[in-house]
């Protein structure tokens, strides 16, 4: 109070910390605009001497990014659809009752959340191979990735349903609604925002899905953008400006959506993840 400059000092420090933390993102954009020789300069320059945006259309065409990104969208949409349709109902029931069975169900879902994808991929691949699902590789990836993302979705959306007052649903039932009617006309609309945020998070994370797609999809025309990036990324890569241009095209839509919805995403996460 008697030191009015302190908040502004803290703000300056916060901005400096954010700048340090977000430096890798800045570096991605700057590197993509550098020319070949400038990339390997030592010490590196922090601003491109001659920015060259033509790398973006070049990379887009040369790496057939249109196909890759389209496949990513298809896979992420499929995963999100399955997760939302099956996960929302499950979360609703888990939020509505309190009993030993519900606790067991919740515990099972939390345990599924713990399973690493690298543990699941071997049996999934061999199993899919046996039932012939590998002939539809994108479907196989969608099914596997939906099972992976559903537990987290259920945990978050359950917290949203917990915050919907029980009395509203009971009033609708007293007024003659059936359970189905009350669910669709009262409970779902009230929880809409929370479900939407979680659906967007699911979409974002499956948009970057890598391990299942890499292992299951062999046909280049069906692979998502993450596998396309891995095609020229590794310990010995040198083609840095096109790698960075590719990455920039890939993540800029995600970053834009995130910055626009930041407040809602953060509040959706914080209400659910800790309960």
């Amino acid at each position: 109070m008697n030191r009015p400059f302190v908040p502004w000092l803290l703000l300056a420090l916060a901005l400096a910390l954010a700048a340090i933390y977000l430096f890798p993102l800045y570096w991605m954009y700057v590197t993509s605009l550098k020319t070949g020789s400038e990339i390997f300069a030592n010490p590196p320059s922090f601003w491109p001497a001659a920015p060259d945006p033509s790398i973006y259309p070049n990379t887009w065409v040369r790496r057939t990014m249109g196909t890759f990104l389209w496949n990513s969208v298809v896979i992420a949409s499929g995963v999100t659809a399955i997760t939302v349709i099956l996960g929302t109902g499950c979360a609703y029931v888990l939020a509505r009752y309190r009993s030993a069975w519900i606790d067991i169900g919740l515990f099972a879902i939390l345990m599924l959340q713990v399973l690493p994808a690298s543990v699941m991929i071997t049996p999934l691949f061999v199993g899919f191979n046996q039932i012939g699902l590998l002939n539809w590789p994108r479907t196989a990836v969608v099914l596997a990735a939906a099972a992976k993302s559903m537990p987290f979705f259920v945990v978050l959306v359950r917290a949203t349903f917990m915050s919907v007052p029980r009395e509203l649903e009971e009033a609708a039932l007293v007024d003659g609604n059936s359970r189905v009617g009350a669910f669709f006309s009262i409970v779902l609309p009230l929880a809409r925002n929370g479900i939407l945020v979680c659906a967007i998070l699911t979409f974002m994370s499956s948009f970057g899905e890598y391990i299942y797609s890499k292992s299951i999809i062999q046909d280049t025309a069906l692979q998502p953008a993450s596998v396309g990036l891995s095609g020229f990324l590794g310990p010995n890569s040198t083609d840095w400006n096109s790698i960075m241009a590719y990455s920039a095209i890939y993540v800029t839509p995600i970053l834009a959506v995130f910055v626009l919805l930041q407040r809602r995403i953060v509040s959706g996460l914080t209400s659910g993840a800790l309960k």
Binding site: A14, L17, V114, T122, P123, A146, G208, Q262, L274
Partner: protein, 300 residues
């Protein structure tokens, strides 16, 4: 018949359908594969038997073979180092940032929210960016370290066996830091202000306030954050193919990536399944320890 239909529309049947559909899906695509994984680890799996369900029983030969691999103990050690170093880094830096952003200044919540972009980015892209930052000759991290006078020599982060694992750890800390910070911030915000005011009146300094109020009040949050950090770190996969591919000579390989290499690069699915089972036992052990410790806490 009509009673069942009625119950589906307006009774317990409705709940059972909703929860049942999700459970059937999860059992089919997560529960069954898990069981199948254990079965495969006791079978002899090769290209000829890959398509059939009944394979020659192998007993514990797969387990013996995995343990006898020359890289087994190296990978085990790397996995433990990777998990503990990543968790420690994410938690300590995340806690420090959460404490900082709990101060009262304009824009604190918005700037804190921006940190979370690392969490929504695809892991492979994060790995790619860090791969360039950590490059030996032209990497920007080496340039900064030299500029600050912290090191004279050029560190080959990705190809030096002493540093390769740490290059993945650094990228993983960056990736998970923001999520840790966010959850810890929620915990901090839930501590009543007047506790601090009372302690200040009693003459407690900042360190004493942290030690006697913040830490004890944060205990449940810290437990949850650490367990989520453990889960996230054990699941980390994308950074390895992007940064080091487990090399050089497996010095940066961990169990998850090793299992994938066995199955999908060497096509030895039995060994891949066996390593997966071992890793699953580790995950299970960790979560049981976590559940027990939190339960103990609640009982007091």
């Amino acid at each position: 018949m009509s009673r069942i239909l009625n119950s589906m529309r307006d009774g317990v049947g409705f709940d059972l359908i909703l929860v049942g559909a999700a459970m059937v899906f999860l059992v089919a695509l997560a529960g069954l594969p898990l069981v199948y994984n254990v079965v495969m680890s006791f079978q002899q799996v090769d290209m000829f038997t890959l398509g059939s369900l009944v394979r020659p029983f192998a007993g514990f030969t797969n387990y013996v073979a995995v343990v006898q691999q020359p890289e087994f103990w190296l990978v085990t050690k790397n996995t433990l180092i990777f998990v503990f170093a990543s968790m420690a880094g994410q938690f300590i830096i995340g806690f420090a940032l959460a404490l900082f952003f709990a101060q009262n200044f304009p824009g604190a919540a918005t700037i804190r929210g921006l940190f979370l972009v690392s969490w929504v980015m695809p892991g492979l892209v994060v790995g790619g960016i860090w791969s360039f930052i950590l490059a030996g000759d032209y990497g920007v991290l080496n340039a900064i370290l030299k500029g600050l006078g912290l090191t004279q020599a050029t560190i080959f982060w990705k190809s030096d066996p002493n540093f390769s694992l740490w290059s993945v750890v650094i990228a993983n800390i960056w990736l998970g830091l923001a999520f840790n910070m966010l959850l810890l911030s929620v915990g901090l915000a839930a501590i009543p202000r007047d506790l601090y005011e009372a302690a200040e009146l009693d003459g407690a300094n900042a360190f004493q306030r942290f030690w006697t109020i913040t830490l004890p009040m944060m205990r449940p949050t810290i437990g949850a954050v650490l367990s989520l950090g453990l889960i996230g770190t054990l699941q980390q996969f994308d950074l390895f193919p992007a940064l080091t591919e487990g090399g050089p000579a497996n010095t940066s390989n961990v169990a998850g990536y090793w299992a994938w290499q066995m199955s999908f690069q060497l096509y030895d699915f039995a060994k891949g399944a066996t390593i997966s089972v071992m890793m699953f036992v580790l995950v299970l052990f960790a979560s049981v320890v976590y559940v027990r410790s939190t339960r103990h806490e609640v009982r007091g």
